[in-house]
């Protein structure tokens, strides 16, 4: 199923020192995506807070056409998740409070719960800023999974919307597919040849995904592929950090079985470490 552009964005805001940066970032994004923006505060509504917030919105330089503000009380996670259903949200924005390890961990754990509950895509903004910092390089997963088509398409959609320079598709290939233990020169040679073969196959598969996207939707965007043999779900996060990507686009969790809570899978390493801004694409066709 083809990817649908983001029509409605939801931003759950809190009164923190980085509120301004977060709101500026959210309004800017909604503008780039030409989407409606819903701002939701989970907490008590006071006159003072509302004034402060309206003032902030007024000063905001770039704004989408449609902005709505709601105030609701309750558990932040369930409230946000419910709001996603209620307002038919396509993309949920979450902002970091401050760049600290503990906070990062906190954001990651909220995001983990929300991606499990919310029926939409989620964007984790690690580094919101008042001034725009351009999104130059997007890294997107090229896993061998039915969701990947939509995720890659989303990455190109975001890329064209934000005027990105380059998209890298990363195929994480499990070492077990090589199935040759490197012991000595001969097994090393064998393993290297086999890796090269798998690498070619993967390249073909990923290139095929990109080429299925209509040319108009990936106009002028440079893209390349990179195969990595390693732990799935881990390597891509580390890679994004190494190449200093501005955004990492990932499939939402494939399976939500009970035991996966104990054995981290694809997203877990990334949510635990948050190498950069992360966009998790919730595929509508494969809930």
């Amino acid at each position: 199923m083809a990817f649908k552009p983001f029509k409605t964005l939801l931003f759950g805001f809190a009164f923190s020192p980085s509120l301004k940066a977060n709101v500026y970032e959210a309004t800017r994004l909604a503008n780039y995506f030409e989407a409606a923006l819903i701002l939701l505060h989970v907490g008590e509504k006071t006159k003072e807070k509302e004034n402060q917030f309206q003032q902030l919105l007024k000063e905001c330089p770039i704004k989408p056409n449609e902005i709505q503000t709601y105030w609701e009380e309750g558990n932040p996670i369930t409230t946000l998740a419910n709001a996603c259903v209620k307002y038919n949200i396509d993309l949920l924005l979450l902002g970091a409070l401050k760049r600290e390890n503990v906070v990062k961990y906190y954001l990651g754990s909220i995001a983990r719960k929300l991606t499990r509950q919310a029926p939409c895509s989620v964007l984790l903004m690690l580094n919101p800023s008042v001034e725009r910092s351009p999104c130059k390089h997007i890294v997107v997963n090229g896993f061998d999974s039915p969701q990947t088509h939509e995720t890659v398409e989303a990455a190109f959609y975001v890329g064209t919307s934000l005027n990105t320079e380059k998209i890298t598709l990363v195929e994480e290939i499990s070492e077990s597919r090589v199935a040759i233990a490197v012991n000595d020169d001969r097994s090393l040679r064998k393993a290297t040849l086999r890796k090269e073969k798998i690498d070619r196959e993967e390249k073909l598969r990923v290139t095929d995904i990109v080429e299925k996207i209509p040319a108009t939707k990936r106009d002028g965007l440079k893209w390349e592929t990179q195969s990595i043999f390693g732990r799935r779900g881990y390597s891509i996060g580390h890679y994004a950090r190494v190449v200093r990507a501005d955004l990492l686009v990932m499939n939402a969790q494939e399976e939500r079985r009970f035991y996966h809570r104990f054995f981290p899978r694809d997203l877990e390493h990334i949510l635990a470490e948050l190498p950069t801004d992360v966009l998790i694409i919730h595929s509508k066709s494969h809930g």
Partner: protein
């Protein structure tokens, strides 16, 4: 090179492997007997271990030029096992220990099957060195007395060390002849590498000691017609019926805690010693192959089981004997097999002579071994890496001496970790990240380079993760290891990386580490600061120029060449010469160069551990104006004649009998060599001083004397190579 049938190649290399196996057996015989006696086991048990190791590992092993046999590290464990398990009865203890050896062989096989070959990386390098030094001191403390003829000195290691002065005063009264023989042997072993006569070095030092002491025995018996003035107690005893009454391993203590402890200690030391040796020997393999460590562990385990059932000690890969093998032309596992075969021959044919070997001479060999393990140089080397490393070394050493090997290494590991915590002052860095993957490796699509990024921290605790990735990179490629996301890198890792750098250099690959320089300034990275270039630290004591250096500098001015007295830890371009294939290049210094010629002093080592010899020589390197076939040209002498007999080729010219007689010329492409060596070139060599000359296809390497060349000799070398270059240019 055309692909040859493996059987044919094997057959062709057989003579030289037999030769190498023979030389190895010369050193394996005294070591086997000595290590067994030092463990309080019957003398032949060491030989049985060597024979079992030689045969089984040759058949099932995964390495190429290693030799298997009884190991030094195990002496202490086995000695403790035999004395404690037997509760006073040495023979009973020996039978229990055989059972432990068999079980540890089983464990070793399991280790190999589970592919735990990377396990040696879990031990911090300095702690491991400390443990080995403790083993060395243990051997030395006990054997020093035996060397002086006093076989029954009781007490622990420390007590025995304290009694050394007493023994010195005592021995002349008790066993003057045997004692002096032992002390003399030790002196000889220390001086052996100073004697630079190549013929003399054909026989390894330990064999000289044995042959010499047997010779003295015969001198008394045949010339003086007297009894040897050595107490029969101090001579080796071999049972008359060699194979009829095999000892029966006693499994009665199977569930005894003490026994289980012995099994684990033996296994631990066997694994550590074997893995360290395999790693070191791979760097000496002239074919630059990579050993299959896990397969080797399985073979060693099987060999230990076989050896244990036959009454032998357990089998490990041994470094000194392996290096002798590599240096004498061993190319495959058949050399290991032949070393075993020669040992059997020795025992069967020379049983009588072996019984004439005095224990004091064997003990001298062991004292020398112990000294090499515990050599103060090791401590100094480690201290220069960092004072905290020396502390780790010493704490492990002392703990091992006062408790046991297992406790010692455990304390060493714990202490290393505490030092890391102290240096990094962050417990979270380690505790949060220890179980997380931290290594990313991929092949960059554009450049084809392998890029490896390491994050969080990298120490002995998780070095194996990095190692698994690095092992997947062929050494002929370009690898970049990036530590810029990594907050802490320890000494074990730095040393491991240095090993990788060497093996990549050997196969013409490139191995770069980046991102460590940031650490020095940003996080005050302690190891990176001190350890990023290990050799520079070692050679950091650059004093004012010596006289010879000043002379070379003057010569440089006279010739209008450049002179650089600096030490280069990683000399470029010389690894591709045959001469260095089974040697380790340490550093080059004093380079004198212009556009074409480079003359330099080189420090390199041959052999390893007790057979290690550090050598220095002056070399001259220049680029050939024409493409050359690979060849080696050297003086024809007794040694090369022996090589010839062992299957190394010598290219002779019927038209030039004088040249053929005086020079030894070898190389693969004989036709091209014959074309190159025309009458003019041959006349040139005939009429000039003889150097060791090698070509690697593009460059020519000229080696001076077996020592550093004097200024006079340097001038001769320069003139010689200028003439040679001119001659080659003419051939263009």
């Amino acid at each position: 090179m055309a692909k040859k049938s493996p059987v044919l190649a094997f057959a062709k290399e057989l003579p030289q492997n037999i030769f190498a196996g023979f030389v190895v057996s010369l050193i394996a015989l005294p070591l086997g007997l000595g290590l067994a006696i030092a463990s309080d086991a019957p003398p032949l048990s060491g030989i049985i271990a060597a024979v079992a190791g030689g045969i089984v590992v040759a058949l099932f092993g995964g390495s190429h030029v290693t030799i298997a046999g009884p190991g030094n590290g195990l002496v202490i464990v086995l000695l403790a096992a035999i004395t404690t398990l037997g509760e006073g009865n040495l023979y009973e203890g020996y039978l229990f220990t055989l059972a432990a050896i068999i079980l540890s062989g089983g464990l070793l096989i399991i280790f190999g099957v589970l592919r735990l070959g990377a396990m040696s990386e879990f031990f911090p390098a300095s702690a491991l060195q400390g443990m080995l030094a403790a083993i060395g001191i243990g051997i030395l403390a006990k054997q020093f007395h035996v060397m002086l003829g006093l076989t029954s000195i009781p007490g622990g290691t420390i007590e025995q060390l304290m009694r050394i002065p007493d023994s010195f005063l005592l021995f002349l009264g008790l066993h003057p002849f045997a004692g002096v023989l032992g002390a003399g042997s030790l002196l000889f072993l220390f001086l052996y590498s100073r004697i630079r006569n190549p013929y003399f070095h054909l026989i390894p030092a330990p064999m000289w000691v044995v042959v010499g002491s047997i010779g003295i025995g015969y001198y008394y018996a045949l010339v003086l017609n007297k009894e040897v003035p050595i107490d029969p107690e101090l001579l080796i005893k071999i049972p008359d019926q060699l194979f009829s009454n095999l000892p029966r391993p006693n499994f009665d203590k199977l569930f005894d805690l003490n026994f289980i402890g012995v099994v684990f200690s033996i296994t631990l030391i066997a694994v550590i010693e074997s893995l360290l040796s395999i790693k070191a020997v791979d760097k000496l393999d002239p074919r630059k192959r990579r050993s299959n460590v896990n397969k080797d562990l399985r073979a060693l385990g099987l060999a230990s089981i076989v050896s244990g059932f036959l009454g032998g000690l357990n089998v490990v890969t041994v470094i000194a004997r392996s290096s002798v093998n590599a240096n004498n032309g061993g190319t495959n596992r058949s050399a290991n097999f032949f070393h075993a075969a020669f040992l059997v021959l020795f025992v069967v044919l020379l049983g009588d002579q072996i019984q004439r070997i005095p224990l004091t001479a064997l003990a001298a060999i062991l004292v020398f071994t112990g000294y090499k393990l515990a050599s103060p140089e090791n401590l100094i080397r480690i201290y220069k890496i960092g004072p905290e490393q020396a502390l780790i070394f010493l704490i492990t050493l002392v703990t091992t001496l006062f408790t046991s090997l297992i406790v010692g290494i455990a304390v060493g590991i714990l202490f290393t970790f505490i030092v890391h915590l102290f240096l990094r002052k962050s417990f979270f860095l380690f505790s949060l990240n220890i179980f997380k993957p931290n290594v990313l490796m991929y092949r960059e699509d554009q450049s084809g380079n392998y890029y490896v990024s390491v994050k969080n921290f990298c120490s002995f605790l998780n070095f194996y993760r990095l190692k698994i990735k690095l092992d997947q990179i062929p050494e002929s490629e370009h690898a970049i290891v990036d530590f810029s996301l990594c907050d802490f890198v320890d000494h074990t890792v730095m040393e491991g990386l240095h090993d990788y750098q060497r093996s990549f250099a050997r196969k013409n690959g490139i191995f770069e580490t980046i991102g460590l320089d940031i650490h020095a300034s940003e996080t005050q990275h302690p190891f990176a600061v001190r350890k990023s270039l290990p050799i520079n630290v070692l050679m950091g004591l650059q004093n004012a120029l010596s006289n010879r250096q000043k002379n070379i500098e003057q010569l440089a001015q006279q010739l209008a060449w450049n002179y650089d007295p600096k030490i280069e830890s990683d000399p470029k371009g010389i690894n591709r010469f045959l001469f260095f294939e089974s040697k380790v290049v340490n550093y080059s210094v004093n380079s004198l160069y212009d556009d074409t010629f480079t003359l330099f002093d080189l420090s390199f080592s041959e052999g390893a551990f007790i057979t290690k010899e550090d050598l220095k020589g002056t070399f001259l390197l220049f680029k050939s104006p024409i493409p050359l076939p690979n060849f080696v040209l050297d003086k024809e002498d007794f040694k090369t004649a022996l090589y010839h007999w062992a299957g190394f080729d010598d290219i002779n010219f019927t038209k030039h009998p004088d040249f053929s007689k005086r020079f030894h010329l070898s190389g693969n492409n004989k036709k091209a060599i014959r074309t190159l060596f025309n009458s003019e070139l041959i006349y040139f060599f005939e009429s000039h001083p003889i150097f060791h000359i090698e070509s690697n296809g593009t460059h020519i390497l000229i080696k001076g004397k077996e020592r550093l060349s004097s200024l006079q000799e340097i001038k001769i070398m320069l003139a010689f190579s200028k003439d040679l270059l001119e001659l080659l240019e003419k051939q263009q």
